[in-house]
Assembly symmetry: C2
Homo-oligomer: 124 residues x 2
């Protein structure tokens, strides 16, 4: 998949959908997909053994619970990187919006079984 040849406005893309914990792909840098998502409520604990995971919050606040570490409370204009192999679980009391970076093909619910929160790859 070639990199997009246009300027992408995050707010415009985020206005295109309403569901939570369902990332959409908006760009690619080398082997990494740039994804945007909205979050509200609990997301299950999971792990990505082969990749770090980047979260940049653009609206609201996202908490990432991280096994063995303090919670990462990420506000707008802040980012956090979950190291590979570290179990984590996003959480948002109120709706938040964020940008993620993950290798193409990464499953949002991690390396375990797929479930109802497992998202399919979708470019918008």
């Amino acid at each position: 998949m070639a990199a997009p040849d246009v300027v992408v406005n995050l707010a415009e893309k985020l206005a295109l959908f309403d569901d939570h914990w369902s990332p959409r792909i908006v760009g690619q840098v080398n082997d990494l997909h740039l994804k945007i998502a909205k979050g509200q409520g609990d997301f299950p604990w999971h792990v990505h053994e082969e990749t770090d995971e980047f979260f940049l919050v653009v609206r609201g606040s996202l908490t990432v619970r991280v096994r063995g570490m303090n919670d990462a409370v990420i506000g707008a204009g802040e980012f956090f990187v979950v190291p590979r192999g570290v179990e984590h679980a996003p959480l948002a009391d109120a709706e938040c919006e964020f940008l993620m970076l993950e290798p193409a093909g990464t499953v949002n619910t991690g390396d375990g079984e797929r479930g109802e929160l497992t998202a399919e790859d979708e470019w918008i």
Copy 2:
């Protein structure tokens, strides 16, 4: 270099320096460095043969002139990815601030000769 284990506030990091076109490293995702920079004026044409380059503007407006394409005019909250192998030259009439993604070791002035605008790797 391990990924940072703290939440990074972009505005706080950007307040730590004033020089233009001199990226600072603020995080890492797999083999990619997350860098922040301020830009004002012209940056020379250059190319990265081996990597795409991601620009996310957080304040102001950054224009990326791209050989063979229209200029990418990137406002706050917008991103653009320069495909690998494509010559480009950033430009900013007024000061802007942006986040970049580049493989660790990428030279900001590209694959040609190093010059006075070539930045050394510096974490902040």
